[in-house]
Symmetry: C2
């Protein structure tokens, strides 16, 4: 009720130390980009969400593109997350692969991951980018150590990508309900084997081994 002297509406100039405005802006941006995507998020909204003057967003980040880039910057190279999986023989990569990917999503990186997947699918331009990233970083490594011909390697890697992507979307984006709340271990047990099949089994093997 009293006109709080600690929050003087429009006092200019520098504030008390250690308020980490930059951090607050970044946090707000991460959350809003994750929820509404790039186009659906305005700088002013980010500023309001962070309780900060819009001009500060420019001050710290330079512009919307840069803010987005910063929001999506990963602290750890995701390739490194996958590398332990690649040490294993192909015949045992299914479950560890799923586990590694889920691990990324269960961490504090989840909003970032959400933003990445949302924007990667949201428009043609971004999808093209994803296509390239996949070609360059995933495909080449995922199937190392197998002796399928090139074409088959690519196809298998893409089927794996599809299975994993679908899992991520149903669990973390759309959040369908039993699935979304299942413990990681269980999801790994459910989906890991299918990934393994795409990795190494004969390619059109029926359900439960249909030999007829």
């Amino acid at each position: 009720m009293s006109p709080a002297p600690e929050a003087p509406k429009g006092r200019r100039g520098r504030r008390g130390a250690a308020e980490d405005t930059r951090g607050q802006i970044l946090a707000a941006a991460r959350s809003l980009f994750a929820e509404h995507g790039y186009e659906g998020t305005s700088l002013r909204r980010v500023a309001r969400h962070a309780a900060v003057d819009p001009a500060l967003v420019h001050h710290y980040f330079g512009g919307k593109e840069e803010l987005f880039a910063a929001s999506v910057q990963l602290p750890a190279d995701p390739a490194r997350v996958l590398s332990p999986v690649l040490q294993l023989p192909t015949a045992q990569r299914g479950e560890p692969l799923v586990r590694a990917v889920l691990g990324l999503w269960e961490s504090e990186l989840q909003p970032t991951m959400l933003t990445l997947i949302r924007s990667a699918i949201g428009s043609e331009r971004q999808s093209a980018l994803m296509r390239e990233v996949f070609r360059r970083r995933i495909l080449t490594t995922l199937m190392t150590g197998t002796d399928f011909d090139e074409q088959e390697k690519e196809l298998r890697a893409e089927l794996v990508a599809g299975q994993v992507l679908g899992l991520l979307i149903t669990r973390y984006v759309v959040r369908l309900e039993p699935l979304a709340s299942l413990p990681v271990d269980e999801v790994v047990r459910l989906v890991g084997p299918k990934v393994q099949q795409y990795l190494t089994d004969p390619l059109d093997l029926g359900p439960n081994g249909n030999r007829d």
Copy 2:
């Protein structure tokens, strides 16, 4: 070179009959929404793309929301596309299910489908909508005729949804390359069996039946 009298820049009033302006606007909208999503597409851009005055968009559709709704209106109820599949016993639904869904995407509905999937994933609001649709329309029907308990039915339906969604995204949205150009029959043979496994096989069966 000559100042074409057939295309008089700013002549007002009604045009020659049978130009189907409404149709052109709708077509432009479908294509642009499919490519850039809802937020990324402006009415003026649609108008320019259809070579038409922006006010006409309002004249015919009333506003952006309505234009979007009209762009996404499906000529056939997708539930009817699935219903033949549901006639079959659960043990044989895998491949037909995949084939039915792919059929939808290989038709002239593809841009509409693209828009639907893009917007459904693009923002939290839309994702929530998708969650509801799935609950109401897919889940209940997909597992009819099995005797798993309720929880397991839901989980299986969601795993199927994930597998199919992932396939659609890699093939039609991101268009990863061997996969995107594969004939439908082949994709059905590749993915159908996995769907079948999610539908009916014991839930954590390993690759190629790992009994060890």
